[in-house]
Amino acid sequence: MALQGLDLEVNEGEFFGLLGPNGAGKTTCIGIMTTRVRATSGTAIVAGADVRTEDVAVRQRIGVVPQRPNPDRSLNVRENLVFHAAYFGIPRETASARAVELLEQLGIGDRGESKVDQLSGGQQQRLMIARALIHEPRILFLDEPTVGLDPQARHALWDILRDQHSRGRTIVMTTHYMEEADRLCERVAIVDHGRLLTLGTTAALKAEAPGGTLVELTLDGAAAAVAEAVRSAPGVLRAEAAGNVLRVFSERGGEVIEPLLRAAQTHGRAVQNIHLSPPSLETLFISLTGRKLD
């Protein structure tokens, strides 16, 4: 996935989110910042070091949680942590003590001697977080850390990340879940097709969303003519068609539904479905890209 002019700056101690649909270039972006993907052009400075010329220094200062858990399957849970710490030059005793502490903190304190394959998906993801933290990195990178987790495991992971953030750790996370970005991140960059669409605090971004509620009507045919007709109707801020779907942003929320239904009828279209979304990062994303996140 190519990135084009993706200019970002993340502050120390910040919880930063990269939000975008699958294939938006988020993983490439994390890969470049963690020195695992070589950028063909441009620069990226991570914790004061250039990813291209000072890759060793970058790796010294970061912890990485991959999208798919990739533990060392030849080692057990505790060994995964102690050896990883050793790859950072941390003495065994220090690492062992820290491993116990981290596993406890992440709620898998009793799994230290387990084989990695005996862990559930959520537990493996926690092991990945423990591994990323064992060498006390300044920045923690997480690539879609909650994909494939059940809701309970996801909420537990959110608590862990909030806790890390409150301890002053800088966190950069990618996600394609709006809710996740909204709940955790201080600032969010919305990316799609390798480009930065918008950037700001979650509150500012929500304010940026084209005011009001998003009303979506699924019709039994092309919605273009209906969109044209309702554009100037009272209470309608914006109206557009995406195939059979009519999208209207309205200040009055549900009140516009009746005129919309009438307009559809006038153009010989039947309404198959109606969906209302309050202003959110989701509605902002739809207004920016004309499509949904997942």
Binding site: A57, D72, L75, F88
Partner: protein, 267 residues
């Protein structure tokens, strides 16, 4: 703004290298019995049949064992080095890319790759150390065998193990996991049969085309090198030529192997 304090100095690079090495030794140690079976069963069977049974039956001359032993040792050494590097690499770069936790270590990638090669060399040495005494036990006294040049034996062994560890690096990274089985039957088997393991190179004078064609086979230099240092009174290639060839082969496979590793490790 570069925070120099967190950049590892040379001492900790050494420490990290040791940690990488410890990990592989720790994992390999658990598999030592399987490792020995995998790498030495075939050479040992060869010794039983060609070094002990056939001479007694009178099908080969009694001194065939002297020509055979260095070659068998060469095969055991070479292929334990190749396998020790190539096979774990398949898992490392497999579905979940387990090597990722080492690729995130704050050291230049060369160090990670050198460590893999060193592990291959160590395992080649272990295989050789295991095969030699067992072979001697099975075959009985070998008149021409001399280990008086221990330094040279060690040097040839190290160079041979380096050549085949770097070959393992190339094979493990350049060949897809699905084809790793094919690799052994298509590359390894011909290499053994045309590797001068079971006959000295000079004896190939009976078939001049083959004699010069086999020179592209790295195993030839390992086998001839073993002959030069273990049975120096029997026909063998000049030791200096063998060493030069092994150094050149190591350099070539290292260059190709490292390039191939980098391609797999960084996208």
């Amino acid at each position: 703004m570069t925070d120099v304090a967190t950049v590892p100095d040379r001492a900790s690079v050494g420490r990290i290298f040791r940690a990488l090495l410890l990990r592989d030794i720790y994992v390999a140690r658990r598999e030592l019995p399987y490792f020995l079976v995998r790498t030495t069963l075939q050479p040992l069977m060869f010794i039983v049949v060609f070094g002990a049974l056939l001479p007694r039956m009178g099908f080969v001359r009694a001194n065939y064992g002297s020509a055979l032993l260095p070659g068998v040792l060469a095969v055991g050494l070479a292929f334990s080095s190749v396998q020790s590097v190539a096979l774990p690499m398949v898992q490392d770069f497999g579905w979940t890319r387990e090597i990722e936790d080492r690729l995130l270590a704050p050291v230049p990638m060369q160090l990670i790759v050198i460590e893999k090669v060193v592990v291959g060399i160590v395992q080649g040495l272990i295989a050789a150390l295991f095969i030699l005494p067992v072979a001697r036990l099975i075959m009985g006294p070998i008149p021409a065998l001399s280990v008086s040049n221990f330094g040279l034996v060690l040097l040839v062994t190290l160079l041979s193990a380096s050549a085949f560890s770097t070959l393992g690096l190339l094979m493990g990274t350049a060949i897809s996991p699905q084809q790793i089985g094919l690799m052994f039957s298509v590359i390894v088997a011909p290499m053994i049969f045309f590797g001068c393991a079971y006959y000295p190179w000079q004896a190939l004078a009976v078939a001049p085309v083959i004699k010069y064609a086999v020179l592209i086979n790295p195993l030839v230099y390992v086998a001839e090198g073993m002959r030069a240092v273990l049975t120096p009174d029997l026909p063998h290639m000049p030791l200096a030529a063998v060493m030069l060839a092994l150094i050149a082969i190591t350099a070539l496979f290292w260059t190709l192997g490292f390039r191939s590793f980098t391609k797999r490790a960084i996208s």
